[in-house]
Symmetry: C2
Subunit: 187 residues, 2 copies
């Protein structure tokens, strides 16, 4: 892994743990094992480097989700697999976390990947719910778009509650609750 790559990966981890305001170029350089000059050679500054890191985290989230959504099994099985997939609950969502970062949301360039990722995720999940409905596996009374938004919200909120409790099990409990609610509408 070359220096540029190490800088991006270090920024991703620090952004995940400390957020944008709490991540300093100095900390990035130390973690990447690079000097100041090196960082400012590859990137114009903190926002430029953060953008590269955010885009990569967004792509990773999207790729992993797409793998579950387009995987094998019936639509509802794929949704269950997606919701139950192991996540690092106590670390939170590397992309969702950024919505609480004012400097990120205030900068249209930094904000864009975050906005696009969740817009895609909600739409994509709604599509799988629509598939399930077309197969006759899901109650037609359920609105796919609203249900998809609620399910994604359970994951994002599950991170919040797990971190508040200091217990990853709370995340699992939120998912269990959501699946319990969904089960009543499955045929």
């Amino acid at each position: 892994m070359d220096t540029r790559e190490r800088l991006i990966e270090s920024t991703r981890e620090l952004l995940w743990e400390y957020g944008y305001v709490g991540t300093s170029p100095k900390a990035i350089q130390q973690r990447a094992g690079a000097g100041q000059g090196s960082m400012y050679h590859h990137f114009r500054g903190k926002p430029d480097l953060a953008l590269a890191a955010i885009i990569r985290s967004a792509e990773e989230l999207r790729d992993r989700a797409e793998a579950e959504f387009s995987g094998p099994g019936a639509p509802l099985q794929r949704i269950t697999a997606y919701l139950r997939r192991e996540r690092e609950a106590l670390r939170g969502c590397p992309v969702g976390r950024l919505t609480q970062d004012r400097d990120v949301m205030a900068d249209p360039t930094l904000r864009r990947p975050v906005e696009d990722t969740f817009a895609w995720l909600r739409t994509r999940l709604a599509g799988v719910l629509t598939e399930a409905r077309a197969d006759g596996d899901l109650d037609t009374a359920l609105d796919p778009a609203a249900t998809a938004t609620a399910l994604v919200a359970v994951l994002q909120g599950g991170y919040v509650l797990a971190r508040a409790a200091g217990d990853a099990e709370v995340y699992a409990q939120a998912v269990d609750g959501a699946l319990g609610l969904l089960a009543g509408h499955a045929h």
Copy 2:
């Protein structure tokens, strides 16, 4: 409102918008219209002042929720009222936001009110769900604790998605989706 009070309220607002790392004593003083000496007279420092602000925000969240939970109407009506209550979706949750703040979660004293608030909220909501079940208004197959955690997660995640989209309507959509899922289990 005296100086001490203005300092606490200013800190609450700044903590809500900028988070702990992004909130400086200087900004607090300016918003409160107080000098440095004044702040350090009333509080030992930033963490001490933040604690007072966090405790107050936690109390407010709890009081507002309790008002809905112990209000008039059947249990499921009260839950619907709680979920649908107007919130400032784009500003996010003043307490939930703190879970993303490393300096807050790393300090047991600052973390305590956050942890307690969500533990109480989940337990209290589970209690109302149990009431609904006892009244024969809710499917007995639904686990009250898991369902409560999922519903609270929808709210917390709804903030995240609304902020990501830059649209408060997304928060409402998450709530609609959750109520749609819950409706299938109501008698």
